[in-house]
Symmetry: C2
Subunit: 190 residues, 2 copies
């Protein structure tokens, strides 16, 4: 990302979501997104590999927030405490403006198989980032994978509740609540 | 699938894997796969939506095996016992011939982002099938989701061990072993 264009990605995302909402994802071109944002196509491609990627902006940042929070958790933290800290760090910055965007993104993604596939890949990347950060702090591999899966499931569950049409609660507490439910469920598996 | 062509899908898959191995996935056409299998392009498209789908043949059958086994598990079975029965039912039919194919498929998929995305979608479909079958037998939603995630992770972990170059063990026991490891790990999360 260019340091001298701090809001470029945001502007491109806003422009893209407006256009997708008006005319549908398929018929909108990168050139039109750039134009609506008052930028060039070249600038678009400096920030995103393709039209699809606009919808998944911020996932690299989220991966890093997750990893960093797990690395920074105190040595005494259990794997799930470290995951809870990671989920909090990654979701707390996402306020009401982001929720409205998330709803729009969700509506576009739901209608396209290839976008759902890309979303699954991004979610798998988030889980992998958590698992790797846990292993790096000495969590044994099966526990690290399991904690990361549970974290991913809490994230998805919390996300769905966050973007529900009548939802007014914030993202982070919804995710932590889902994490608590899943941890309670671990005792009912066998 | 046409009843009068029982081996058509198998033949198409074998032909496709041979060609992908010889010339790379990208440069092989559907027409060439059909020709190598001694069939027409039209027949190919009666069985698969596109070239990608050949690599994921059998996933619908696997989804059904998982669902059916969970539905058929005794009422007294715990969620993880039902998942173990499902994983056994879905992986036991996959013998040594399938392993060699699975290795070839894995090699092709690993090199292509869009194939990895499709694989993740298929895995998500398998998890969703297990979760739905568990809810249908009265397992509460968080437990059902969690058991299905753990089942999916056991499946993936067992699969990776099954296709390792020097692996000689069978698929089903490797998956059940991974499931045991994950269940042991549930006690070390918090």
């Amino acid at each position: 990302m260019s340091r001298w264009e701090p809001n470029t990605r945001e502007r491109l995302l806003d422009a893209a979501l407006d256009l997708f909402g008006e005319r549908g994802y398929d018929s909108v071109t990168v050139a039109e997104i750039a134009e609506r944002a008052g930028l060039t196509k070249r600038t678009f491609f400096r920030h995103f590999a393709d039209k699809r990627e606009v919808l998944f902006a911020g996932q690299e940042i989220m991966s890093r927030l997750l990893s960093d929070a797990i690395a920074a958790a105190p040595a005494s933290a259990t794997p799930i405490e470290a995951v809870a800290a990671a989920l909090t760090a990654a979701t707390q910055p996402l306020g009401p403006h982001r929720r409205e965007r998330a709803r729009q993104i969700r509506a576009v993604v739901a209608g396209h198989t290839d976008l759902r596939e890309r979303e699954l890949l991004k979610l798998a990347t988030l889980r992998a980032a958590m698992a790797e950060a846990l292993r790096a702090r000495g969590t044994p591999p099966p526990t690290a994978s399991l904690a990361a899966e549970i974290g991913g499931l809490a994230f998805s569950t919390g996300f769905i509740r966050w973007v529900e049409p009548d939802s007014e609660r914030e993202f982070a507490p919804l995710v932590l609540e889902a994490l608590d439910e899943l941890m309670a469920a671990t005792t009912t598996l066998a």
